[in-house]
């Protein structure tokens, strides 16, 4: 893991200062009703022809005051609420949240539950990256063209993973399966065989997608050298996850600060160099392969035992956490998802702060958009994989 001195000041609008003020610039409101803003994101792009001179991102269109709402909810009631934050990888939200509560309670999570969480996290990573690949191709190829073909293929495979989750939790998307001290739902009999089946399909199709993207001349032409982010700037902005690893920084909480059962398996961190959209695509495609390997290794060896420590659930709504504060971070498909909790000893959290990786990823936009064309801007935004649900909360 690399540490960096946060000293370098970067002016995000370098180019507009040197711009001819007499030149005719056009202000384009990009979003929030734009088809490729991945939800309701808005950028104010100042354009010179098609070249972006200045970009100002605006967040907040999806703000739902989740953190404030959590202050008036019992601890066990919070899980289904945060499910909706990162709505592409919902289970990771539950994991980060409950890990923070468990840490404050000093609860030991049973080994079986930790293994299940690890498995779910990796399955979630594949599902999330598949969705990213589909929407990124949509950004590049359009809803009425080759992009939509990739999009539908990716959704077809993601469906297999949602089916697996449905079998365990009964829900396809907002699972509410993690709780303080463990999991709610146990793995049904014969589930691991289905996981293997699904992974076989996904693994073989993944090679197809690699061919459709990384070997595709148009894809490479559209992504190579586009949206280059250098490692220092990425670290300064607090960017984590695949975007940071695409800058060549070998940083992954799964290996560097193991949570769940990651200390019992060996995670090979995928990195790439270049920091451009192509590198990000390479990292995410590589991570899917790595996740498949991990799941195959783990799914047959899930230890037996309880799935919940069973301690604080006498009256779940009355669960009280001793006063204190803690910060817990896990590696989601998008990077470091942190939960910071302050407890005053009552049954509600005094303050709950969520640190979403997407918000930090979006903060790179003013630095990397100037100089790109409008087409590139769409590709760059897509390559950052922002989920507005967790950006705004």
């Amino acid at each position: 893991m690399r540490t960096v001195q946060v000293a370098r000041r970067v002016n995000p609008h370098l180019s507009i200062d040197t711009y001819d003020p007499e030149a005719e610039l056009m202000l384009l409101h990009f979003g929030p009703q734009h088809p490729s803003t991945h939800g309701v994101f808005r950028m104010d792009l100042t354009l010179d022809g098609e070249i972006v001179v200045k970009a100002v991102p605006h967040v907040g269109f999806l703000h739902r005051a989740v953190e404030k709402l959590c202050e008036s909810l019992a601890y066990v009631q919070i899980t289904p609420i945060v499910d909706k934050n990162d709505y592409v990888a919902p289970m990771t939200n539950e994991q980060a949240l409950n890990m923070a509560f468990e840490k404050l309670l000093n609860l030991e999570v049973p080994r079986r539950a930790r293994w299940m969480r690890t498995l779910f996290a990796e399955l979630q990573r594949i599902a999330s990256h598949l969705l990213w690949l589909g929407t990124f191709a949509l950004d590049l190829g359009g809803a009425l063209g080759g992009g939509s073909t990739v999009f539908i293929y990716c959704f077809r495979e993601r469906e297999l993973i949602l089916d697996l989750f449905e079998e365990v939790t009964g829900a396809r998307f907002h699972y509410n399966t993690h709780t303080i001290g463990g999991n709610r739902h146990d793995i049904p009999a014969g589930w691991s065989a289905k996981v293997h089946q699904a992974l076989d399909v996904i693994a073989s199709r993944l090679s197809e997608y690699e061919g459709m993207t990384l070997d595709n001349k148009i894809f490479v032409a559209r992504t190579r050298g586009v949206g280059v982010l250098d490692a220092d700037l990425a670290l300064e902005l607090g960017i984590t996850g695949p975007i940071l690893r695409a800058c060549g920084v070998d940083h992954d909480l799964r290996r560097d600060a193991p949570f769940h059962a990651y200390n019992e398996v060996r995670v090979q961190v995928v990195t790439a160099t270049g920091g451009d959209c192509l590198a990000r695509a390479k990292v995410r495609l590589g991570e899917m392969r790595e996740s498949i390997r991990l799941i195959r290794e783990m799914v047959d060896n899930i230890p037996a035992g309880a799935i919940n420590s069973g301690k604080p659930i006498k009256v779940p709504l009355q669960t009280k956490i001793p006063p204190g504060q803690t910060y817990v971070a896990i590696e989601t498909p998008r990077g470091e998802l942190g939960t910071y909790v302050i407890s005053d000893g009552s049954q509600f959290p005094y303050r709950l702060k969520i640190r979403p990786p997407s918000l930090h990823a979006l903060s790179a936009l003013p630095y990397i958009l100037p100089g790109a064309t409008v087409s590139d801007a769409v590709a760059i935004l897509g390559s950052l994989d922002p989920i507005m649900g967790e950006v705004d909360r």
Binding site: H34, L144, G145, G146, G147, T149, I152, I218, R222, S375
Partner: protein, 323 residues
């Protein structure tokens, strides 16, 4: 007078057939795309969803017709019909068989290219008159793209003209049916010219991978952003008619038109070739991603234009010394 009546009657027939063919091609494309994407496509309206285009048109007819307050209403309303007229106008000079042709002009190739080139005007005026920034960007891209790709398109079309020694499309087809199709012999001129012609044609019709003027993931809907209902449908129709007619032109210029090789020549060959070409274009559309506009210009000026110039020179040399 009889010439006029002949032309007019065939014109009416061709336009009606073309409109029907466009509606059917919509269905065909949706089915083809659905199969490529492991979907079913339209299934509910009519047998196998065949009446889906009709339902689409009915839906679009019911939509509110909106002219933006600050738009240039005249240009805004004029653009969609002009786009359709230009696209259909090209069909006039395309011989579908030795007899089925509205007007086999002496300067058929020139006429086809000229009318095809006018399509940029309605697209640009739509982009300008909409008073919408996204539409303006789309119109800007459309002008740059169409004018650039006009050059390789004309040069590639010159190759069969030189080889046949005529600008009359009927004569070009006749020369091919007496000798060889131009993609068969001389194939080293015919095939590259055909490929360039098809690529430039795709760019002119704004099809993927050259659909950057409407690039919906970037520009929402490009020049058609502000259009609703039937006016939007007219643009859509113009695009399909343009592709269909351009496929017919390519089939006539390079693939021997109505000639069936060892089999009896006739209208059916022309229709078959047009549809196959059309299907290939759709295949490309649902497979490829989109270029960026500067990459598109690079492809045109750095590769297509020089090679088409070389092809024209090659064709001239071939005609003088061999043919």
């Amino acid at each position: 007078m009889t010439g006029f009546l002949h032309g007019a009657s065939y014109g009416v027939v061709i336009v009606s057939v073309l409109m029907t063919a466009t509606a059917l091609s919509l269905w065909f494309e949706r089915k083809l795309a659905a199969r490529m994407q492991s979907r079913l496509g339209p299934t509910l309206v009519g047998p196998a969803g065949l009446l889906q285009p009709l339902a689409d048109v009915l839906k679009l007819l019911q939509k509110e017709d909106i002219v933006p307050l600050k738009a240039d209403a005249i240009l805004f309303n004029l653009a969609p019909p002009v786009a359709v007229v230009c696209a259909i106008g090209v069909a006039a000079a395309v011989p579908f068989s030795p007899t089925v042709v509205a007007a086999d002009l002496d300067v058929g190739v020139l006429y086809v290219l000229a009318i095809g080139a006018i399509t940029v005007l309605p697209v640009f005026s739509a982009g300008w008159a909409s008073n919408n920034k996204l539409a303006l960007l789309g119109g800007m891209r459309a002008v740059a793209q169409s004018i650039s790709y006009e050059v390789p398109l004309v040069l590639a079309a010159l190759v069969p003209v030189i080889l046949a020694g005529s600008m009359r499309i009927g004569t070009i087809v006749r020369v091919q049916s007496e000798g060889h199709w131009f993609v068969v012999w001389p194939f080293f001129l015919g095939i590259p010219a055909f490929v360039i012609f098809v690529l430039a044609m795709l760019a002119e019709a704004n099809r993927i991978p050259f659909d950057i003027p409407e690039a919906e993931s970037e520009l929402v809907a490009g020049v058609t952003t502000e259009y609703t209902g039937m006016k939007f449908a007219l643009f859509y129709m113009a695009e399909y008619v343009h592709t269909l007619v351009a496929s017919a032109v390519a089939a006539a210029l390079f693939l021997g038109g109505w000639d069936g090789g060892p089999f009896r020549p006739g209208l059916h060959w022309m229709v078959l070739k047009t549809l196959l070409l059309f299907a290939a274009l759709y295949w490309m559309r649902w497979t490829l991603l989109r270029f960026r506009s500067d990459q598109l210009m690079g492809l045109c000026w750095r590769w297509l234009v020089p090679s088409s110039v070389a092809l024209v020179a090659g064709a001239a040399v071939w005609v003088v010394f061999v043919g």
